[in-house]
């Protein structure tokens, strides 16, 4: 029997705000499952529904097949790592970790052994008698983890645990969390707004927006095959090209016309019919750029363009080019010594191209999702070309 956490059609509203709207999810035993989305998307509410601090207005929460919807938090076999850690300030590290076991009235020898084991796991055995106000952020977080894990919960709920840490520490703690998960094997339900954390740590991710699930999948699936403009724009960067399906290239590929440019090819896994309007999304790193015209190949989309913006970032360079009415962002990695090349500059005439496999057609596009992208402001007086209806 697999221990898993299941949400069935849960909804929760606070006042006039629908925080979670009819969401269903399954978390598999032993996996690291992340809820990823911007603030206000409902991910924290989902976590609190799992922990028992909120009751759903509708739907059920199941743990290992058992309906825990009406169970209060102290009776659930799940434990939470709070964003503020919420360590008990009047207790030492040792007492904090031991709390859950003492409440469960375990024998003293067992408590001592388990707490010592945890202290070794988080490498804080020499700080066991300190009070939380003397600890650093990273140390507090480790104590919070130990305090939760020592109770051997069926699921560990993590509420943006790295949000309060600075960048370097965050990166280190991410690796530590990974290691802890490998060692302990408990199911993690991880909530974050940071895609780097989610992508780096998770087995699967659910991307949420406005109380709904946009897409569930592995990090690779989410990144390479987003279903909606929200997912495409929230994770990483992308280009949104506005067009229309004009016909089939062959069994798996469609032909599109984008801003008056015919013959763009794209893999069609969504069975979009000819004559339908569609948005094509292509990630900048999948687009190539050069001064010389590339070889024409089957399934290769090529466009002549003019360079409008260049940002040199060291290991990569971002280019914004204009091909007729289409504006495309290109991300180029410098895998050779750059000073040897003649760099591509503003107003240069170039060719950009990408493979038909590398773009994706979106099931749903919303203009507001473009605000999630990191694009430079458009020049004044310029028409928006093919990127807007």
């Amino acid at each position: 029997m697999s221990e898993f956490l299941e949400f069935r059609g849960v909804s929760k509203r606070f006042g006039t705000v629908q925080a979670v709207a009819d969401v269903s999810l399954e978390v598999r035993k032993g996996e690291v499952f992340s809820l990823l989305g911007p603030s206000g998307c409902g991910k924290t509410t989902m976590l609190r529904l799992a922990a028992g601090f909120e009751r759903p207005d509708a739907g059920h929460v199941l743990l290992d097949g058992e309906d825990i919807t009406d169970l209060p938090p102290e009776k659930r076999k799940v434990n939470t790592i709070f964003q503020s850690y919420a360590l008990f300030p009047h207790m030492t590290v040792r007492e904090n970790i031991a709390f859950g076991l003492r409440v469960a009235k375990r024998p003293k020898s067992e408590i001592d052994d388990e707490v010592d084991r945890m202290l070794r796991l988080i490498r804080m055995a020499d700080q066991a008698d300190k009070k939380p106000d003397l600890l650093s952020g990273g140390q507090k977080q480790r104590v919070a983890i130990a305090r939760a894990l020592v109770n051997k919960p069926q699921v560990l709920l993590l509420d943006e645990p790295l949000a309060a840490l600075d960048l370097k520490l965050r990166q280190r703690m991410l690796i530590e969390l990974d290691m802890i998960h490998d060692e302990v094997g408990i199911t993690f339900l991880y909530v974050t707004h940071d895609q780097g954390e989610a992508m780096g740590l998770s087995d699967r991710i659910a991307v949420m927006d406005s109380g709904r699930i946009e897409q569930v999948g592995t990090p690779v699936e989410i990144y390479e095959a987003p279903r909606t403009s929200f997912v495409a724009a929230f994770i990483g960067d992308t280009n949104f090209l506005d067009g229309e399906v004009t016909g089939l290239e062959d069994a798996e590929y469609s032909r599109l016309e984008i801003a008056g440019v015919p013959g763009i090819v794209c893999f069609n896994d969504k069975a979009i019919q000819a004559g339908q309007p569609v948005f094509l999304s292509i990630r900048p790193e999948k687009v190539h750029i050069s001064r010389d015209k590339p070889e024409a190949e089957k399934l290769r989309n090529m466009l002549p363009a003019v360079v409008e913006d260049v940002i040199y970032l060291g290991s990569t360079t971002k280019y914004w080019v204009r091909a007729g009415k289409i504006r495309i962002q290109v991300l180029r990695q410098h895998s050779r010594f750059f000073l040897d090349e003649k760099p591509i500059r503003w107003n240069d005439e170039v060719w950009v191209w990408w493979h038909g496999d590398d773009g994706f057609m979106l099931e749903r596009y919303r203009e507001v999702d473009e605000d999630l992208l990191a694009m430079p402001p458009r020049k004044v007086g310029e028409s928006d070309g093919g990127n807007r209806r």
Binding site: E74, N79, T80, F82, A86, F88, H90, F99, G100, N151
Partner: protein
């Protein structure tokens, strides 16, 4: 950047202003002269005389009795009030409750004294230690409530959720987590109530009966009709006691890191 020295000088001046009368008082308590107009040698005779004033000791005893009692009751009432104001903040009942708790803090003491006196007179209640006790509780509740409320507002609610998350029911959570965390706030409130009660004059003056004197009332009659040097000695003792109490209160409410 050149900054005016004026504020600093005013500050120093203000501090001298604060301490001058007190220093004179303390000095004069050791002054053998009766009138404090000239120094006539160091003497402890006023302190010795103080020990032989039974009325002062009676008044002190009354003050402490009332203070302990009033502190105890006002801590209970005030802490409960603070919880209600914090937990249910915003409801109509609590807005009324807050105004009710807040008013005694801003109203001049004489108004509280006179209104209680009227109430006792109108209902025929005899004035004595009992009425003093009631009056003291009435103004102490507000101070305790505000002190504890300030602590509660700094309270990290996530800690309560963490306790429940780890398996503790409401009873255990309250006993093991909430209470120890707010204990310093309650202690500070209690100390505040105690000091206010010991020190209170105006309200006590109005509701005290002929037979019941507290220390401040005794001091007042000594000021009006009695011997200045004794007051100096008594004041110095009280200064010392309050000073110690304040240091203690600071240690309790903000432990050294």
């Amino acid at each position: 950047m050149k900054r005016s020295r004026l504020p600093i000088w005013i500050t120093v001046g203000a501090l001298i202003f604060f301490y001058l009368p007190i220093l004179i008082l303390v000095l004069n308590s050791f002054n053998a002269s009766r009138f404090g107009t000239g120094w006539q040698g160091f003497s402890l005779k006023w302190y010795a005389q103080l020990l032989h004033e039974p009325e002062i000791w009676l008044a002190a005893r009354n003050s402490f009795l009332v203070a302990f009692g009033a502190t105890a009751l006002s801590v209970v009432l005030g802490t409960a009030a603070a919880f209600a104001l914090h937990r249910f903040a915003g409801s109509r009942l609590q807005r009324f409750h807050y105004a009710l708790v807040y008013m005694p803090l801003v109203v001049p003491e004489i108004l509280m004294g006179i209104s209680l006196l009227m109430a006792f007179a109108a209902t025929g209640v005899r004035l004595g230690l009992g009425t003093i006790f009631v009056a003291h509780v009435t103004f102490c509740v507000s101070f305790v409530a505000m002190t504890v409320l300030a602590r509660l507002q700094d309270f990290d609610d996530a800690v309560v959720e963490a306790a429940r998350d780890l398996g503790a029911g409401w009873g255990v959570t309250f006993r093991r987590i909430v209470l120890p965390m707010i204990a310093p706030g309650i202690a500070a409130g209690a100390l505040l109530a105690f000091t206010l009660s010991i020190d209170d004059f105006v309200i006590t003056f109005f509701v005290a009966g002929p037979g019941s004197t507290t220390l401040p009332i005794r001091i007042y009659s000594m000021i009006k009709f009695g011997s200045p040097p004794l007051i100096n000695a008594l004041s110095t003792i009280l200064l010392f006691v309050t000073f110690t109490a304040v240091i203690l209160s600071q240690r309790i409410s903000s432990p050294r890191r």
